[in-house]
């Protein structure tokens, strides 16, 4: 094998930057790769994650979960559990205040409070295998577990509904008697499992398909998949004797936890303080509360002891949010010139036990990379007897792109066109209209296509039997949201940065870097920390690819404000106007006067009040993200197993603040997309029992399943951010499944329409193809 320096596994970076960045681009700090401030604690085991919290007198809480997918609860008897020595409290849904059916925006996405409450502890029905029924606090986790076994629940079994299409059937068993289909404000007139229907429509479909020279129509099936964060949910709550509540929890959004706990327990937020611990992965799955309100109830009932609750992996997989399984139908037509003439999409997403699948997002993603005149998308949010779906990295995007991007690949095949050429013909650019209506501002989609087209991966021939190369593109909206932060100037010239965005993948660094850049000081002088809900103003969750963008914008503003304040103070000292002071390269000067940043800080410290600035932002200028990926695979036609030979991802990242962590986001998203594409799925039996609730049989990729992942950071700066930042975390999970499907087709000639494309399924597809070939024509 020849040595390609870019693929040398030892040399730090494997990727490249193209576009306007290509280096530091006049920046001092942005674009460099400093060490993260929390790194040492994380490589030495000192960092404190959710389960690492230990308070004196702590009790251990455990949850009893439903062994059934769908059943009415006739009776719960907790008396034997309560009598077990060491048990301090037992709670059931009867301990939850009754909340009205009210849709509330709780940080990210709206949810009906009644559903939220019912998901914490089932009130009258259990709606999925693993649904919580009761909780116990005891002096040891083992005693708590023993107590669970003493709780007696009487069930009336009901038939389960296990996928979107059967849930939509006329005679399907109904999960929620009061659920009616919402069609933008109009409620249906009968009980249903279809919570809502949405539609995007433009142009003339019939004319569009009539103008097509080739039409491809396919249907697709995908299973629920889990975020798979390595740290299980963990929360400790103290309901103090004075009614004040403190919650230590591993969460993407401490403010959202505060809000959810307040609403569901009917307690004012002013009595709740949420202290985020380090968070061991989330990917959208650590936004909803599962343990926190229950731990608060137990703490109160147990006599104001702290109660610590830690899920095990079985519970995480059974009862915390997977993302939706789905049924999708895509019909697309194109003319001989390679232009898409029409597209029609039907998508039904499994919401799990309560409404709220990401079908809206999926509908926005599915055709987003393309310029279309005639289109219709219908999306349905459907409840089934599975855990309530939660956000998962570009929610709803991967399965949507799997459908549309493989149909596009088939169109290309029929037209005899290179799939990247096809995308250059149809790809969206600034001024084009998205499928859901709005017009794109500056985007870098076409640049990602060109970056792959020019990449040595794509230009290198792929040789060998049963090998294939596939490409696919993806889109994600990204998000702004609300952020706040403060910065204090210390006498030695260091700056303490206090922010409220939990750091899930290096954002302390990327946010501190923006403050350093803005203030003109070295990164090492900024000391960032993530704080609790009492110590900074509201922050939306770390999610939606918003943190480096929005909290980073706050940090930029802090830098500007701090600089202005320092200028004002020095002007006072030097008896001049702030505008008259020159600040460059960390040096303030005015006439003969010169002070380095550090000296200036010391001088300001000695001569007056301390300097602290704060800022809050709610930026609108969100830049969406696009990516194009290429993958080479080899398929063993006798076993159906896929080996990934090479993977390259090009992405419009706006501006890479800390390129290592941008690459890391792409690596991680690709890895999750590959897992989704090849092996990850929830496996249920006919009664709705989840069969594979462990890391043994819920197969996330190991180090041996992945190659190095090449990245191309295309930098098309986002005009809505002073440094051009776009969210980068989500879009990389969108294309992989489709890219793999397209590569598998080229390797062994089967078009896969089911996720995951497990060896068994590929084998069956190969058999089906062989059987077809044998049939007389």
């Amino acid at each position: 094998m020849s040595v390609d320096p870019q693929r040398d596994p030892v040399k730090g970076q494997n990727g490249q930057n193209v576009g306007q960045g290509g280096g530091k681009n006049g920046y001092r700090v942005i674009g460099s790769r400093p060490l993260r401030p929390d790194g040492t604690d994380k490589v030495t085991g000192r960092a404190r994650f959710g389960a690492d919290i230990r308070l004196p007198d702590t009790l251990y809480g455990k949850i009893l979960r439903s062994p059934h997918a769908h059943a009415r609860i006739r009776a719960i008897d907790t008396s034997r559990a309560q009598a077990l020595p060491g048990v301090k409290a037992v709670v059931t849904a009867a301990d939850l205040p009754s909340v009205e059916s009210k849709i509330q925006d709780l940080g990210e996405g709206a949810i009906n409070l009644r559903y939220l409450s019912d998901n914490l502890l089932a009130h009258s029905k259990v709606l999925y295998h693993g649904h919580p029924i009761a909780a116990v606090a005891a002096t040891s986790p083992h005693i708590a577990e023993e107590a669970l076994a003493l709780i007696q629940v009487e069930y009336e079994l009901l038939p389960p509904v296990l996928d979107a299409r059967s849930a939509m059937a006329e005679d399907a068993p109904i999960l929620h008697e009061d659920l009616r289909t919402d069609e933008m404000g109009v409620r249906g007139d009968r009980p249903t499992n279809v919570a809502s229907h949405l539609r995007h429509q433009r142009g003339d479909l019939e004319a569009g398909f009539a103008a097509a020279d080739v039409i491809v129509e396919r249907e697709f099936f995908t299973s629920p998949v889990h975020q798979g964060y390595i740290e299980p949910q963990a929360a400790t709550a103290l309901y103090n004797a004075d009614g004040q509540i403190t919650i230590w929890t591993t969460t993407q959004g401490p403010f959202s936890v505060r809000e959810q706990v307040a609403q569901v327990l009917q307690i004012p937020i002013g009595r709740i303080r949420v202290i985020p611990t380090e968070i061991g992965g989330g990917f959208g799955g650590k936004i909803n509360v599962y343990l926190e309100p229950v731990a608060v109830l137990l703490s109160r009932k147990a006599g104001h002891h702290p109660v610590k609750m830690v899920m095990n992996r079985d519970e995480v997989l059974k009862a915390t949010g997977p993302t939706s399984g789905s049924y999708i139908r895509v019909k697309m037509g194109a003319n001989k010139e390679g232009k898409i003439t029409a597209a029609q999409v039907f998508m039904a997403y499994e919401a799990g036990a309560y409404p709220g699948s990401p079908v809206g997002a999926g509908a926005g993603v599915i055709l987003a990379p393309y310029r279309l005149e005639n289109l219709q998308i219908d999306g349905y949010d459907v409840v089934v007897n599975k855990p309530r779906a939660a956000a998962y990295r570009a929610p709803g995007g991967t399965n949507a792109a799997f459908a549309s991007e493989t149909v596009i690949d088939e169109l290309c095949e029929k037209l005899g066109m290179d799939p990247l050429e096809f995308r250059l013909i149809n790809g969206a650019k600034e001024g084009d209209r998205r499928a859901d209506g709005p017009v794109y501002a500056r985007i870098g989609y076409l640049e990602t296509v060109k970056a792959i087209q020019a990449h040595p991966h794509y230009t290198a021939p792929l040789e060998g039997k049963h090998r294939g190369r596939g490409v696919a593109s993806g889109f994600w909206f990204n998000w702004g949201g609300r952020s706040s932060a403060t910065a204090s100037l210390n006498a030695d010239g260091s700056v303490s940065l206090v922010e409220g965005s939990p750091d899930i993948g290096g954002t302390r660094a990327s946010i501190a870097m923006q403050l350093a850049e803005s203030l003109g000081i070295p990164y090492e002088q900024v000391k960032p920390q993530v704080t609790d809900t009492d110590s900074v103003a509201y922050n939306d969750v770390t999610g939606g690819s918003r943190t480096t963008f929005a909290t980073g914008l706050a940090a930029y503003e802090l830098g500007q404000k701090l600089k202005a304040e320092m200028l004002r103070r020095l002007a006072d000292l030097w008896e001049t106007e702030p505008e008259a002071i020159h600040y460059e390269d960390g040096v303030f000067s005015h006439g003969e006067e010169r002070l380095g940043f550090q000296e200036a800080a010391a001088k300001i410290h000695e001569t007056g009040e301390p300097v602290m600035v704060s800022t809050t932002v709610y930026p609108k200028g969100v830049g969406p993200g696009f990516a194009t990926h290429v993958v080479d695979v080899e398929v063993d036609p006798e076993t159906g197993k896929v080996t990934i030979l090479r993977y390259t991802a090009a992405q419009d990242v706006g501006k890479a603040i800390h390129p290592s962590y941008v690459e890391g986001q792409i690596h991680g998203g690709v890895a999750q997309g590959i897992g989704w594409g090849l092996n990850e799925e929830y496996v249920y039996d006919q009664e709705g029992h989840l069969l594979n609730a462990s890391f043994l049989d819920y197969r996330i990729p190991t180090a041996l399943d992945l190659p190095m992942i090449d990245t191309v950071l295309v930098e098309a700066p986002n005009p809505g951010h002073p440094y051009g930042v776009r969210g980068v975390g989500e879009v990389p999970i969108v294309p992989p499944a489709a890219a793999l499907a397209n590569a598998i087709y080229r390797a062994v000639g089967v078009r896969m329409n089911v996720l995951p494309m497990s060896p068994a399924r590929i084998l069956e597809a190969i058999w089906a193809k062989e059987a077809q070939a044998k049939e007389p024509v």
Partner: protein
């Protein structure tokens, strides 16, 4: 209350005696009784490696060891592996390569990678991946982790090559 057993073990270079129930795993005792929370529980059944420790120098999942089994044996956790005055080269390389995002799997990876390098100072990429396949990471796609391990090996080899050069020269 179930009866407890007294266990003496060499833990991170010290003689430690603790009381535990036979049903408590080594991981539980480390974390809940001894305050050593660097070893993490990601799965509890040996499928993720986040709880990796060395038992008599052998890499094991501490969630699959009963604490009573460690009587008279030597246990090294991430806390004991880290030298008092500086980071191990593998830890430093993890930082430099940004080989961690959320960081919860990191202690397990460090313990595992360090055990690899002691046994096989010059592993190939394939050997690194095979060795680390029992450690799950959901954030990084393993790319930067594998690079960090290979780079550590290369750096250590460079250093020892320099050392031996000097010995020859001197």
């Amino acid at each position: 209350m179930p009866s407890k057993v007294m266990v003496s073990t060499h833990l991170n270079g010290q003689e430690v005696t603790f009381l535990c129930e036979p049903r408590q795993t080594l991981l539980e005792v480390l974390r809940e009784e001894l305050g050593l929370t660097g070893s993490k529980e990601g799965c509890g059944n040996g499928n993720c490696g986040a709880c990796n420790v060395l038992l008599d120098g052998v890499l094991v999942n501490s969630c699959l060891v009963l604490a009573v089994e460690t009587e008279g044996r030597t246990v090294t956790t991430i806390e004991g592996l880290t030298p008092p005055d500086q980071l191990l080269p593998i830890q430093q390389k993890f930082l430099e390569h940004a080989a961690l995002q959320c960081g919860v799997c990191t202690p397990g990876f460090i313990v595992s990678a360090q055990a690899l390098l002691e046994q096989n100072p010059q592993p190939t990429e394939g050997e690194v991946r095979r060795w680390l396949a029992g450690n799950l990471c959901r954030c990084t796609g393993y790319d930067k982790i594998v690079r960090a391990v290979l780079d550590t090996a290369q750096t250590l080899a460079g250093n020892s090559a320099q050392d031996s050069d000097q010995e020859v020269g001197g």
